[in-house]
């Protein structure tokens, strides 16, 4: 991904994140989170992870954030009234965050940088079969095919477990939202 584009999406993501934690109105926070996720999806697509980028937009920026906005609307939340922040948690929290950031910069400064190698699709075609190989020979990246191939072969059991997890979550949500009738 070209450097200006990388910084555009990265800054969109970070500014969106900062807006989430600084805006007092929950609706504004949710909408800036959508902006943050769009920036993140741009970074994913820049990393040749097209399927993950699209899923990020559809699932996160679309479905999950609509769910958040729906709940905010349902609870009829007003802008948070100003309360005096407690000093000890604020100082402790900011201390943890600051320590984490310093540690991150320290670690990144000590490790040798790594540049991305361009994808070698034609060479990769020799390790694949079928339609994936045909697309790779055309010098196109069959992203969805590769993910699907892996998901339904090597990761079949985790996929089914996730399916059960989603079922349990659905049942759990229905039970939680049902009004208790004594």
């Amino acid at each position: 991904m070209p450097l200006p584009l990388f910084w555009f999406f990265a800054i969109l993501m970070l500014v969106g994140g900062l807006a989430v934690i600084s805006l007092r109105n929950p609706v504004a926070a949710a909408l800036s989170m959508v902006a943050s996720f769009v920036g993140l999806a741009g970074l994913f697509i820049g990393l040749n992870a097209y399927l993950v980028g699209i899923i990020q937009i559809l699932v996160y920026a679309g479905a999950i954030m609509v769910l958040f906005l729906f709940i905010i609307m349902l609870l009829d939340l007003k802008t948070e009234e100003k309360r005096a922040p407690k000093v000890v948690p604020v100082v402790g929290g900011l201390g943890i965050v600051l320590a984490f950031t310093i540690q991150l910069i320290g670690v990144l400064g000590k490790t040798p940088p790594k540049e991305s190698e361009p994808l070698d699709l034609v060479a990769a075609a020799t390790h694949q079969t079928g339609g994936i190989q045909e697309t790779l020979k055309d010098d196109r990246l069959p992203d969805v095919n590769l993910v699907g191939d892996l998901m339904f072969t090597e990761y079949n059991l985790p996929l089914q477990i996730v399916g059960v997890l989603l079922l349990v979550a659905t049942v759990g949500v229905v039970v939680l939202s049902k009004r208790q009738t004594a």
């Binding site: 450097l3 990388f6 910084w7 990265a10 993501m13 970070l14 994140g17 900062l18 989430v20 934690i21 929950p26 926070a29 989170m33 943050s36 993140l40 994913f44 820049g46 990393l47 040749n48 992870a49 399927l51 993950v52 699932v59 996160y60 999950i64 769910l67 958040f68 709940i71 609870l75 948070e80 922040p85 948690p89 604020v90 402790g92 929290g93 900011l94 965050v97 984490f100 950031t101 991150l104 990144l108 940088p113 540049e115 991305s116 190698e117 070698d120 699709l121 390790h127 993910v147 892996l150 998901m151 990761y155 996730v162 997890l165 989603l166 979550a169 759990g172 949500v173 939680l176 939202s177």
Partner: protein, 105 residues
Amino acid sequence: MAGLHSYLLVSGLLFAIGLAGVVLRRNIIVVFMCLELMLSAANLTLVAFSRFNGVNGLPDYNGQMLVFFVITVAAAEVAVGLAIIVALYRARQTIHTDDLTSMRG
């Protein structure tokens, strides 16, 4: 071209922003959104490592599978969490974490 370090730095900063939000904000819905930010920061790290540690000229798709599962579990978590918040609001008429002290020792 942006190197691996840029991606790791950006995702680390996003994680730090999410962590700061979880610690500083008192509105439980915003705390929940910041949790999502932290999960997404982890996803960005996974996708960056998957792209920069290629196998046979392709990205390492095992990393992207993990991202896929993280997104699925996060979606389930959001659904259950928001249901809990709605139940909480019904019982207490507040979602301000300072007012929720019944489990304080």
